[in-house]
Every structure is written in C-alpha cells, then in structure tokens.
Symmetry: C2
Subunit: 687 residues, 2 copies
C-alpha cells in the first residue's frame, strides 16, 4: 500500500513538474500551483496582481504599494537617476536620499514607468501580413504591421503599445500600457547598504543587501491615483511558504535551437565577455584618477561588473557537457517527431537547418554588426545622442510603416524623453568610452578597413575621441532639442563633431543592420515560428514562452539549497549577519546610518532570503508576495546557480534572492526614521 | 601520358605532404624536402645550422652572426632588457640603442642565451624509472630521474641540461646547452619602427616592422668565440625560394586528445582571455596617468596585447566546427585502429578515457590552481621574488631528487640570475598588479573562502596591495641575496610584507600544485606516452613532436597567400610602403631617424616578407635562411591565420613573417650608420 502511494505521488509530481516557468498572465497554470501547493490563483486574484505591478522602461520591475502612485523597486533600478541627481558636492549614491516631505521628491531625468492595461492577441494579424514572404519582404511586412498596430493602439502620448513576440514567433500579443514619464525619487538608501558586499557578493548567497527604493509616479504634476496596489504582509516570508513573483524578466533563451546555442556558447558570450572584461579593467583604473572619476563612472562600473558576472555564469551553463547534451536531446526528440510524419516534415522539417544557415551568416558578419551598429559608441552618451538625432532626421519624415522600429510613431515619447534628458554628461568618461570604442573598431576591423580609414584618417583613436567630445555641444539638451526640431536641414548643416563622427559611420552601420535583419533575424523569426508551432502541436500550449521583458508570474517557495561546497544554505539571513560581515573596507563597509542604528535594531530580523521562483534579469524590483497577494519582500537578484537559468531551470539550486519585508520595515523605521513613507505603506503604527 | 604523369605527381605530393612540421634535428625529413624542393639537407649542413643557432631563455630564438659572439634576435626579444636599462631621463625604447664601440655595450640585467651542444636519448631511463607506477608515485619517480639526469649532465654553472618530453611522452631527450648569462646589448632600434603598427598590425600582413636587434654573449668578461655562425645572403629572400627556419617554437597542442582540446576551447582559453582583456583595459588606463606610467608598463602591455591577440586566434581555430571535427575524426581513427586488436586495446585502449577523467579533475580545480599557484601574483615582480625566496629556503635543503623542479640543482644558475637581477622594480605598477591579483582572488574564490579570509582579513585588495608593496624591501637585490643566502632561518624571521603575504598563501598553493601534478599532470603524461606509442606503431616515426621550446627546423618557401577578403596578398612589402602607412600618430608614427633618412633610402628595398614555414611563439628571433645556410631574414611573427597553428597547420594560409635581410642592412647602413656592426656582419663595404 505504501509503495503504491509512493508511485502515485511520483506520477503527480511528474505532471506537476518543477517550480519552473515565467508564465504569462493569460496562460497561468493555476492547476499546477494547486497540485503542488494547494492554492489555485483565481482570475480575480491574477487581475488584481497584474494591476498592482509596474515595469521600469530602463529594464526593471516594480509594484504599486499605495493608492498615491508610490512605487517600490530596487536601489539598483533607480541607481542611474540617483547618480544623475547628484553633484560633486552632494553624492546621493554615497549619502542616500529621502524626501521627508512631498515637496522634496525629485524628478528623475529620464525615467519611465509602465503599467500594463491590456493584452490583445494579434497572432492572426501578423501571420496574415507575412504569409508567404521571406527575407527582406518578410521583415518589411512584419515591421509595417507592427508599426500599424502599435500606432493604432497608442492613441495618446501616455499610452504605450508594444507588439510582443512570444514563443519565438508562435504567438504575437499587443501589450498596452499606461506610460508615466514624470517619476520622482522618494527614497534611496546609501549604496553601501543597498549593494553591501559589492561585486564579490553579487549573485551570491548568504547575502546582506538592502536593495530597495521608492519612487512616485505623477500625472499632471500630482501624484497619480491607482486603484490596485499591494499591501504589506504582517510577518513577511516564512520558510516553506508559497511565494509568487510578478515582474518583467528581460529575456531567456530556453527555446533557442542547438545552432543558436552553439553560437551563443562559442561566439556571442565569450566575445561579449572579452569586451566587458577589458572595459572593467579600464574603469577600475579610471577610478584611480580621483574621487570625481569614481563618482561619474560608478554607475557604468556597476553595470559592467553585473553583466560580466551574469554572462560568465551563462557561459558556464553552456559549456557544461551534460547541460548541452540535454539541449541537443530535446531538439532531437522534436525533430524526430516532425520527421515521423511526411506532412509535418514538409511543414517544419527545414526550420532548424534554415536557422543554422542564418546563424552561420551571423557568425561571419558579427564583428561589423557589433562594432558599427549594435555596440557603436561603446556607451558614450554623446555618441548615442548624435546617432539618435541623425537617424531621427532621416526616419521621422518617412511613412510610419517604413521607419526603423525605434523611430516608429508609437515610440516617439520614449525617444524624446531620452533625447531631451537633463541628465549630466561627463566629458572625461565620454572620452574614455569613445577611445575604447574607436580602438576596438580599428583592432577588430583592422586599420586597412575602409570604414576605419574613413573614420580615423591619420588620427589615433584617443586623439579623435578627445576632439569629438570637446568639440561637441550635444551635452546641452537645448542644443539637442534644436537639432531634433530642425530636422534634416539642421542636422545636415550641423558641424558638431559628434554628429560628424556618426555621419561617417552611419551608411555602413545601416547597411549591416539591414543585412542582419533580412538574412539573419527574419530567417530566425520565420523559422522560429515554425518550430514554435511544431512544439505546440507536439506538446500543447501547457508551456511558457521565453522571457520578453513583459509581465510574467512565477511561483515557488521559500527554500534553502545545497551550496557548491555541498553544505546546506539556509533560506534566510538576519540583520546580525550584516554586522558580522562588515569589515570597514569597501565594499564591506557599512554606512554611518546603519552603524549608528545598530543598538536600536532587532538583530534577529530576517534580512534577505531565497525562494525557488524562476526569474531572470529584468525581474529586479519585482514584488514577491504570498497567496493573499501581500508583499513578503522585494526581489533583487538570483543566486550564482540561477545564471544558467537563461537556458534552463534547475529547481534544486536555482534561487531568487529578495530583501525580506521585515528587513525593509526595520530599516525604514530604525535607520532612516522614514515616517511619511511608513505611514503611506500602512506601517505608521510601528514607527 | 600527360594524365599518368599528373597522377604520379599527385601521389608524390601525397607522400610529400605539406610544408608542415617543426622537426627535431635528429629526425629531420631531408627526403621530404628533397621531394618537394629538390634539396636534401645533409647531416653536415644540419650540424652547422644547429651550431649557429641560439635560444634566449626568456622565450625567444636567435642566431650567431659573427665569430665574436654576436647574436641576432628580435627587438621584442630584448625589449625587456631595453626597458630595464632605461631611466625616466633616457628611454632607449623610445630613442633606440647602439653601441658604437665595444665599451658601450651594456649588460642586460637578467638575460640568458643558450647554445645547444648535444642531444641524448634518455627514453629508456625514464621509462624504466616510472615503469608500473601511477599518480604520485609516477610523478615522484619521473621528477627524481629527471633531476638526477640533469644534475649529472650539468657539470658546471655554464652548462645547462634539460630533459625534454617529446611526442607527449613518446620520447625523452636530454638537451645539453652552453649557458651564457653575461649578455650585452649592442643594437636596438626605436620601438616605433621595430613594432611599427603596434597592436593593430600585430599578426597581420602586409607588415612594416624593423623587428631586429643584436646582443653579444660574453665569457669571462670578453666576447665569446664561436666556431659556427650564419653568413649573410647577397640578395636576401626571393619569391618562391626554399627557406628554412631554425628556432625554438615554444609549444603546440597538435597531439592533444579531444578531451584536452575541449578543455582548452571551453575553459583554458576563454578564461585566460578574460584575465588578459581585463588587464589590458587596466594597463591602457594606467598609462593615462602620465608618461612615466607609460614607460614602466609598456613592456607588460606589449606582452598582454600580444598574448591576447594570439589566444583569440587560437580560440577561433578551436570553435571552428570543421577544424574541430577533423580533430575528432583523427582521434577516432587511431582509437579504432587500437580497438581492432585485442592486445593493442589492452595496452592503449584506456588512455583516452583516463586523460578525459584527469581533464575533468582539472576543470574542477582550475580556479584554485590558477589563482594560488600558476598565476599567483599576476606578474608582480616583488611577489615573484618573495615566492622564490620562500620556496628556495624550503626546497634547497632537500635532496635534489625531491625538490620542486625549478629548484633542482641543475636549475640554480637560472634561479639565481633571476633572483639577483638588478632590473628596476616599479612600485606603482607592482601595486596595480597586486591589486588586480587580490581582487581576482576574492572574486573567483569568493570572500568566504578560508584562504581569501586569511589573506585579506578585513583589508580591501587595494589597501593590502599598497601596504605589501610599500613595506617590502625586496626591490633591492642585496636584500634578496641576503635572504637567499640566509636560508630558512633568514626567511623564517623576515618581517618583509611581501614575504609574509607569500607565506600566508604558500601552504594552499603547494597543496593544489601537488594535487594537480599527481591527479592531472602525471595521468596526462603517463597516458600521453601510451597514445604516443600507439601512434608510432600505427604511423611510424615519420612525424614531428609537439613544440617544446627546443630547437626545431622547419622548411617552406617564400610565398604569398589569399587574404580573408579573398584578395591575393603578395609575399613582400617594401620600404616605400612604410612611409605610405605612416600617419604621424602612434602606433603609426615613424621615429625621427627614419623620417630623416628617407631621402637616402632605396624605397624599393624589400622590408618584410612571408613564407610557408611552420612556426609558433618562441620562434621569434629565429634566423630564416636559404639552402646555403645564408641569412635571408629574421622571423618575427606569424600572420593571423597562423594562430590556429597551435592545433594544426594549414599550408594554404599559415605564414611566417620575417624582416628581409636587405631591409635590415638598408636600415643599419642608411638610418643608423652602424658601421661597426655592419663590418662585423661582413657588410662593411656597402656602408
């Protein structure tokens, strides 16, 4: 009898699978959650949760936590804004920021919050538009239809509409958002506590970070009213408790073909890592020139180090023999299912080889594509502004359907917010980045390449970079606005050095992008659609699409795991551990506020914790909540084992890392004495 | 008739194979050269050539070019010496160096030239010593026998003896060298012309480098007399001419198993490149701190950039699907031949799997091995000195056969020369390198690793590095000498900060090295021997061993090739092209000497050229000569396509790059007016 029971249990577990999946709200497996955890989210519950969450356009997630537009997210999601609001005299990254009154809330220079309003299936429209087309024709038809759908949907500047490709082309949905561009900073702790442990502790656990911040969305100069928001849990996350994460995972590659994964493993990831590693070395040493050099480059350095560590983890997943073999076997299985039937073989059989061929094309063009288009400028703001201006002057006069996608009518509010941002530009950093870029351009295309010759002439990369930065006036947003509104005539006659540099490159850059879109992207899209349909036919739709920086819901539970050294890692850390870990030296140096507050703090308060939710980059700032939709913490990281989650989920060790809700409150109360904020969170009584 | 002839020709060509091979002097395929080029080197010819060449212990090749110990090599092979002889006031890297009189020749601080005297086969001795042993026992027996053989051979301080493992263990030879440690700089051009085009032109062709230098070996304070040396060719290299290169290729991996190649592809190469890329970024920016920062770090920067580009090329060869598939097929073929016979299967069958298992072990221990042992200190001289002192004090009292190999009796002259070198130590650079090292240590082992905790305590990597450098007196060679001669007692009581740092790490470092030697290296050695024997039995010995930084001879011809863009690349460049390529900006800025000499120069003089000789890193400085053993140039590089030569040779595009002998003379005559040198080369009349 016992034995039978065990078998039965195994079968159920087999059906219930793992805590895997970044599920869309319109295909959430409530039955699966019920089977595993005894709770089935209702449609009502899902709607409420969906309406309580938000997306930060720059690449993060967030939640509404009061009826007055108060938004909770990570410190590292508002880090750029905090740096932009700082000056050499007042560095909010170092000293933190708290608006004790509504008047003290400060607008972020280029920050956009999106609240999802509606999802419409537009698969039929897209399929019809591209039917029978290939290559350039497929791409043009697809782009035109997307531009048309988005424009028709975005009826006002504060409505944002994105057509989203799900299941690598198996489904197209139109996501409609309310767009908030007036976003003001309410609270940001010192980076020393938000990112305590810095790069060495990044993606690690046990962890001691207070990575939480608050902003507020405004409408017509007043705090926006929202109907749905998340309340606070009384106890916060408990061991073994069922947890949900609602957020916007940026992208996963779990449905890529073996040819595409091989390309990632052998070319895309290592080559990106070579660039990041070099830039990291450059920034480390750049900061040695003085404290102001550190201040202006810290945000970039954080981003570079974070990407570096994340991609190292991804690469390691792909070079793992067993992991890769599983991917090969999965593909083989589907291909064999296709082959077993002549009709299926005719419909889908060529898809994998077509993608493999396109991947070969990509391999051959990858350096030019990266240098001239995808990573041109290596992050220089001035270069980015110049390119946006040059292209806007050429694209905006065209019919909406024929523009490069980022200049389509529906995208203009975003474009203009970025372009007119009053955020400071740092010439020394600009010079370093542009030197880096031009050096790489010459190194990787070779000094005899016609583009390189045209760009550099007889100049060295550093000399040209220095000249281009010092002779450009684009750091001034007014100048950018004049050039933008002046259109092609203004741009054409501009002698701005950065505009001139972009102009020299742009013909080649556009050409290689066009080739990429027609010969690689459109082939991958079209054949990806075919594979997705084959997968639906073989396995049904009881699966989730790759992440696409759109709203997803994942479930899991608070749960420790076994570390790399074989020892168990408990799910919680406590405030006490933070003080034990502090060394007094950066990045393990506590800010004065925490050191002073120590006697008042309840040292056993849970600080950070892990859960088995399936997340990835972009989920930063997501609320993590219980079955009553109450906040039990805020997601800020994954553990090191979760980095392979790009390609597949391993429930035994993949973990989401969150700040515990009790830890958040303890800090707000006893370290920051943030009464106004606590009251708004319904936690005023405890202060 | 014609058709028959063609078939016959193809068969011969089939036997004659390609211009592939870095052949040992005791197994040179004269017949093969005869078949391809109509000239069979005689034993006498080989002996003369062998005696005319030299090795630079630091990792280069060279040749004797006068009876008075004059040695020709590359500028980049004496670069370190040139920097060490420079001061902030007089930078010979920038202005070049020429000793117009014998008295002006200047001793290089730590430079060793080796002249091969004799080769003895010691395969039987080694095989006997290790028979029936495995793991630690195999390793200990092998090391003891090698130490014994080398000590017995090295009867004087100026005799150097190295046991060399050929064919990955198929053969062991004892190489006996005359050792010259008094080496003086005679001529070095400005780096701006020696390395014209810098990193962008490195490994490229067409090329315009004057990468040649001269040093002189001394004995008892006088120029050493040598019986054999190479004369100068009257015309220099001609298109299509048969050429030989005699030199010391550092290492190739053409006989590695697929498991080992996979490890190289997925772990060793990318991870080394991540380090190099970061260090490169660091050095680029370090140099921005001022001209003196540039001067002291230029040598390192050159090395880092050179390795980076070389390893990028190697990695690209291994991720090439077709190339890798060929390697897999080759191994499969040999394994099947082994399997086809039960005795063979019993003798050799397990070898590949054993190596694969050892490679898995290596993968698992690789980070600790690299950080604690192989790359500990990240190139800091002070760290290197401290470690050598600490270990010498422990190793030298042991019996010769039980020491770590670099402390064996026969290696002491080298150890002591390095240790007592008067070369300057640059504290700022030391600090940067040590910070880099300690940061990586913490990053890759994690801040909670016991070694990391022990090393750093509560300090940051930068704080500790700065303290360790400023509180160390090891920059002074006298201090090092005292500690060395003081032995364990002196070291034990030393409070030198760098000695203390090394001491904290050393137990763990030795432990991981021991584990590596016993569980990885000895397994690869033992099973490599088995595979080598299987290969001999299957294919005979008509093949060449992987390179081992010992003297090899390669043949080929002056020959252009087809570039990556499909266009033909002619085999020669001329002086005229140098002036056309110059931009006036570094690294395309010509030194004043060449600009001033331009009117006097014969602009059609050949400058650099390519040939199909099979070479690799370590061959730098090798003479390239014709069938009359006359110098037609000096090897200084391979083209970009040759970088995959680490794993296999592709005659269609792999090329050796040399400075043409006529170009060398033109410069010596008309740019440098180096009469004394020209006369010694027998070229005085032309001056």
């Amino acid at each position: 009898m016992t034995r039978w029971f065990a078998v039965l249990f195994l079968l159920v577990a087999g059906i219930a699978r793992a805590d895997e999946g970044m599920w869309t709200f319109n295909n959430f497996p409530s039955d699966l959650v019920k089977a595993r955890y005894g709770f089935a989210p209702s449609q009502e519950w899902l709607t409420k949760v969906r309406r309580s969450t938000a997306r930060i356009a720059g690449g993060c997630s967030a939640s509404f936590v009061s009826p007055n537009g108060l938004v909770m997210t990570n410190h590292h999601c508002v880090r750029e804004c905090v740096q932009q609001l700082s000056t050499p005299q007042t560095d909010f990254i170092v000293k933190g920021f708290y608006a004790a009154t509504a008047q003290q809330e400060r607008q972020c220079p280029a920050f956009e919050v999106n609240k999802l309003v509606d999802i419409t299936d537009v698969t039929a429209e897209l399929t019809k538009a591209t039917q029978g087309k290939e290559g350039a024709a497929f791409r043009d038809a697809q782009r035109a239809e997307i531009a048309r759908l988005e424009k028709a949907c975005a009826t006002a500047a504060d409505i944002r509409c994105d057509v989203v490709t799900l299941y690598r082309g198996g489904m197209y949905n139109l996501y409609k958002y309310q767009r908030f561009q007036d976003v003001r900073l309410v609270f940001a702790p010192e980076e020393a506590i938000a990112f305590f442990g810095g790069d060495p502790d990044n993606f690690e656990f046990p962890r001691y970070d207070y990575d939480v911040s608050f902003v507020r969305v405004y409408q017509d100069g007043k705090p926006a009213k929202v109907d749905d928001y998340l309340r606070w849990s009384a106890r916060g996350a408990q061991d073994g408790e069922l947890t949900f994460v609602a957020g916007n995972p940026g992208g996963t590659s779990r449905l890529l073909t073996v040819a595409q994964l091989t390309y990632q493993r052998d070319y895309a990831l290592p080559e990106r890592l070579f660039q990041l590693a070099q830039m990291r070395g450059m920034l480390d040493e750049f900061q040695q020139r003085g404290p102001e050099f550190t201040r202006i480059s810290n945000n970039l350095k954080f981003g570079v180090e974070n990407s570096y560590k994340a991609l190292v983890g991804r690469r390691e997943a792909l070079v793992d023999r067993d992991f890769f073999a599983k991917k090969v076997a999965e593909e083989q299985k589907l291909r064999e299912w296709v082959k077993a039937d002549a009709t299926r073989q005719q419909r889908f059989g060529q898809a994998w080889d077509n993608i493999a061929k396109a991947t070969d094309t990509l391999r051959e063009m990858r350096l030019r594509l990266r240098l001239l288009e995808q990573s041109a400028g290596a992050g220089s703001d001035l270069f980015g502004y110049a390119r946006a201006l040059v292209r806007a002057s050429e694209e905006l006069p065209k019919p909406n359907e024929q523009r490069l996608e980022e200049y389509a009518e529906a995208r203009k509010p975003e474009l203009e917010q970025q372009l007119f941002s009053p955020a400071p530009v740092y010439p020394k950093l600009e010079e370093a980045l542009l030197t880096f870029y031009l050096t790489k351009l010459r190194e990787q295309l070779g000094p005899d390449d016609p583009v390189v010759k045209k760009v550099l002439g007889k100049q060295s990369p550093r000399a040209l970079a220095s000249k281009a930065v010092s002779n450009s006036r684009l750091a001034n947003p007014q100048v950018r606005r004049q050039l933008y509104t002046g259109g092609a005539a203004a741009l054409g006659s501009s002698k701005d050095s950065m505009v001139e540099l972009v102009r020299v490159l742009d013909e080649e850059a556009r050409a290689i992008r066009k080739r990429y879109e027609e010969e690689v992207e459109s082939v991958a899209d079209k054949n990806g659609e075919l594979i997705a349909r084959a997968r639906f036919e073989a396995y049904g739709t009881s699966t989730y699409p790759d992440a696409t920086f759109t709203l997803r819901l994942s479930f899991g539970q608070v749960k420790g795991y076994q570390g790399g050294d074989g020892k168990p890692v408990p799910p919680f850390t406590q405030v006490a551990g933070l003080f034990e870990r502090a060394t007094g030296e950066d990045p393990f140096r506590l800010p004065p506020s925490w050191l002073q507050a120590k006697p008042r703090l309840e040292l056993q308060t849970p600080f950070d914790f892990v859960s088995s939710n399936d997340i990835i980059g972009g989920n930063s700032g997501s609320p993590i909540f219980n079955k009553d939709a109450e906040v039990v913490g805020i997601v800020f990281d994954g553990n090191i084992q979760s980095l392979g989650g790009e390609y597949g989920f391993d429930e035994s060790v993949n973990r989401t890392v969150s700040v515990h809700s009790q830890g958040i409150l303890e800090g707000l109360r006893k370290v920051y004495n943030a009464r106004r904020l606590l009251e708004e969170l319904g936690q005023g009584g405890g202060g």
